[in-house]
Symmetry: C2
Subunit: 494 residues, 2 copies
């Protein structure tokens, strides 16, 4: 029998796991914004705003964050090592960067920055990462436990691939969640076990709630293998307290859960009363070593002061998995050969930056602090602006790069959304985009409202704090004006 072309590949015949997940940060609003932008290019002035303000994606450099000079100089030299032999180079690059680039090139296979590396990443760069972790935590870290990766997302995917055997395997994930997690769990054939963060408790994590979800999942026949914790939080912007972190460590240890600690916002903390502590540090401080608890920590160069999203650099530190499992992870990593070298270099620089005494230390620190202080200011301004709006409440943005205000939508707005076949928060986000050019992600994109939990029926938007201070100044009055007219249109008249 012979098959015809139409049977070979259609949306009906692709992997159904691909079809069922949704990924809103790149979904409806992103496409809508792109359409608007194209429309405005064709007919300038057709909209009451000059440009789209992309607050939907955590993409610092697209919104004007400057890269760290030292990082880019080192990258540039490693790409073109011939420069290291030229005198003129000293006119264009700092001695600091020249030294570091030389050291990196020396440690590369074939003394060249274009060969496949070890699948875990170049050893000397992993050593730099491990020493950065040890300095951060005050506890040792080993280069054997570090996997350099193409950003945190590929590391998270790899972890799910290792952990998930079937639909009977569950992974605890926070709600609202960063939707990479549900996508990755679905794609690898497992089951997401959601637990609710507490909006009333500064988006903290209540152990009794997690325990309830774990028990429900077990009763339903699932083997829960791991727990994802995002700290600082995305989309929620909270920074967990040490006490809360200790409870989580105790819980995972007792229940035999692998901790998947998404710590990519570790350098984005804005409030005096909170500090970042890695889960590994918290566990070690409690006296637990790798025989007591398994922890994977994910980090990347995409956020923090580097903001190098497009470079796809990151690492995972895997503790407590045993040599045989590590061998299997190395094998899977070797299928895609190695992480990209530019990302590997950047990751080593971010974790092992210039030190006091290095020529470029002061400039580096100044650039870093500028970014942090400005983000802290914007976090406060935006959260304040949202809180000041009728029917909106917004927790403090303690960390990460998002405000996640709750909108108490009037019944008429919810009805109007339904009539257009949209969730109410998407309806609000579309109206906001059309009126102001401000693109945000509706809370439902983070599965905030995926049923069977008390948060059902609450509506949110996620708005990055990334537009420059000048832009935020312009953005806030536009936001206020829109919100007022939206509320006027739909306000409950009871």
């Amino acid at each position: 029998m012979s098959y015809n072309k139409t049977a070979s590949i259609t949306a009906e015949t692709i992997n159904p796991k691909v079809k069922i997940f949704d990924y809103e940060p790149c979904g409806e609003i992103a496409r809508h914004a792109e359409r608007l932008e194209q429309e405005m290019e064709k007919s300038p002035g057709s909209r009451p705003f000059p440009e789209i303000t992309y607050c939907n994606l955590g993409n610092p450099q697209a919104l004007g964050q400057r890269p760290i000079t030292f990082f880019r100089e080192v990258l540039s030299l490693c790409d073109n090592p011939a420069l290291l032999r030229r005198d003129e180079t000293r006119m264009l690059f700092s001695p600091c960067a020249i030294n570091r680039a030389r050291k990196i090139i020396e440690s590369m296979p074939g003394r060249n920055s274009g060969a496949y590396t070890n699948s875990q990443g170049i050893r000397s760069l992993r050593e730099a990462v491990a020493s950065g972790i040890a300095a951060r935590d005050g506890f040792p870290s080993r280069p054997e436990d570090i996997f350099l990766t193409d950003g945190a997302s590929s590391a998270i995917n790899l972890s799910m691939q290792i952990l998930i055997r079937s639909q009977e395997d569950g992974v605890l994930c926070p709600l609202p969640e960063y939707p990479l997690y549900s996508a990755s769990i679905i794609l690898h054939g497992g089951t997401m076990v959601p637990y609710n963060l507490s909006e009333d408790g500064d988006w903290g994590l209540e152990i009794f709630e997690v325990k309830r979800c774990l028990e429900e999942a077990r009763i339903a026949g699932l083997t829960v293998r791991a727990m994802v914790i995002i700290n600082p939080g995305n989309p929620t912007g909270q920074v967990l307290s040490v006490t809360n972190q200790e409870e989580i460590v105790e819980f995972c240890r007792k229940e035999g859960l692998v901790m998947l600690a998404d710590e990519v916002y570790q350098d984005n903390v804005y409030v005096e009363d909170r500090k970042f502590h890695s889960f590994k540090k918290v566990a070690r401080s409690l006296g637990y070593d790798e025989n007591d608890i398994s922890i994977v920590s994910f980090h990347s160069v995409s956020m923090g002061f580097s903001g190098e999203c497009g470079r796809r650099g990151g690492y995972m530190e895997i503790c407590g998995f045993g040599d045989d499992v590590m061998g299997e992870i190395r094998k899977v990593a070797s299928v895609t050969l190695c992480p990209n070298i530019g990302g590997q270099i950047l990751t080593s620089l971010a974790m092992d930056p210039p030190k006091l005494g290095d020529g470029c230390f002061e400039n580096f620190m100044a650039e870093k602090e500028d970014i942090r202080l400005s983000l802290a200011k914007r976090a406060k301004t935006l959260a304040g602006a949202f809180s000041s709006l009728e029917g909106m409440t917004c927790n403090r943005v303690e960390g990460a790069i998002y405000a996640f205000p709750r909108i108490h939508l009037p019944a008429a707005a919810i009805k109007a959304a339904k009539a257009e076949g949209m969730s109410p928060d998407l309806f609000y986000a579309c109206r906001l985009l059309d009126a102001t050019g401000i693109a945000v992600v509706p809370g439902s994109g983070f599965h905030q409202v995926s049923g069977r939990n008390k948060a059902t029926g609450t509506w949110h938007i996620r708005c990055t704090i990334l537009p420059g201070e000048d832009k935020i100044k312009v953005m806030i009055p536009r936001l206020k004006e829109f919100h007022e007219s939206f509320m006027n249109e739909f306000r409950d008249r009871s």
Copy 2:
């Protein structure tokens, strides 16, 4: 009930799909070579050779291939766009590279090379790739159909993820195969349907053999969804004739199979009587458009004259999948956000290199031709050397970067291998490595002997042609000496 730590993650409790595949190019021989290298570092002179010759991995720059100057200059400038505003830059970079870098930076989100890009890759770079494909084939190519990727391997994984629904879905793959394919099919839960290449027919592909395998698979209840063709071949080094390619296109069209065309060695062709033709070009030349046949073509910057393996740049061109499927592919791609920017830039440069009239054209062409001519020379020398050995036969290395000689092993050697619990080709490869420092991959690593096919019981090694001409000159006598003594030890005495 509370679980103890030991239950949380062990080699017994990880995803079994991870456990069952093997990936020999990074396996036994690679580890053995690494151990030897460490041993030699500790006690220099402990072995009768000065260094390990890594002929096991296709890693050009690790073995001394020089990167193309133009490529590295552009990369270096894009990493550090501040250079574009400095006069001194003209002393260090060609005007050609400066112009190209300026053009690339202008087209980037935020005019910055560190932001997330579109998940398919930056549009202008996809346009450059599409124009390169059109110039190569003489048929149009559209940037919408191009996905820039972190090397070809991630593109291949993505394709398998889209195509495979369950173990009942099969994918036709050549034997000997590049083991990424079996690994990827297993990891995505499908079934590999192997077909044999014909060693006697210059490693060509015999349609009756593929048809036989397809029919057997269908009788066994499989839905065969796609056919992988590697051209030029890995590990076999053949370049398919146009007639053979036409047969394959007709076959896939008639049988409703998606063609997965691994064309990463398209710039590695060394013989006068063979040329590279993309499968898309062959299909279009036969008058078939995207309504007639679905083709995915994979390419990367890792091989060819660029040899930029560690940069993880590549693309896939997807033709004939329909808009809804393309939407799903975009969604899956967006889960890992975007391919790395350095790889994206390199891919655009490789597909849209300097043209006649550009200032750096001559230098670029000279570098490119140097690499090609030297590889052609090495291909001939190595294949000749292997053929000259007792009990060895070696097909012409028409393309790619591998010689894949067959070893007719004496019965005593096969017995000795069995006694050590090794496959005979691994036994030979280990002995070769221990005696000479030359690392090659045993043919069984390419599943050459995975049963139920007529090639069972033939033994091969894969040896890259990548060591420099000087090194090959030293390597050949060592190889000959080893082989002679191996044969003396095991020669059949009947």
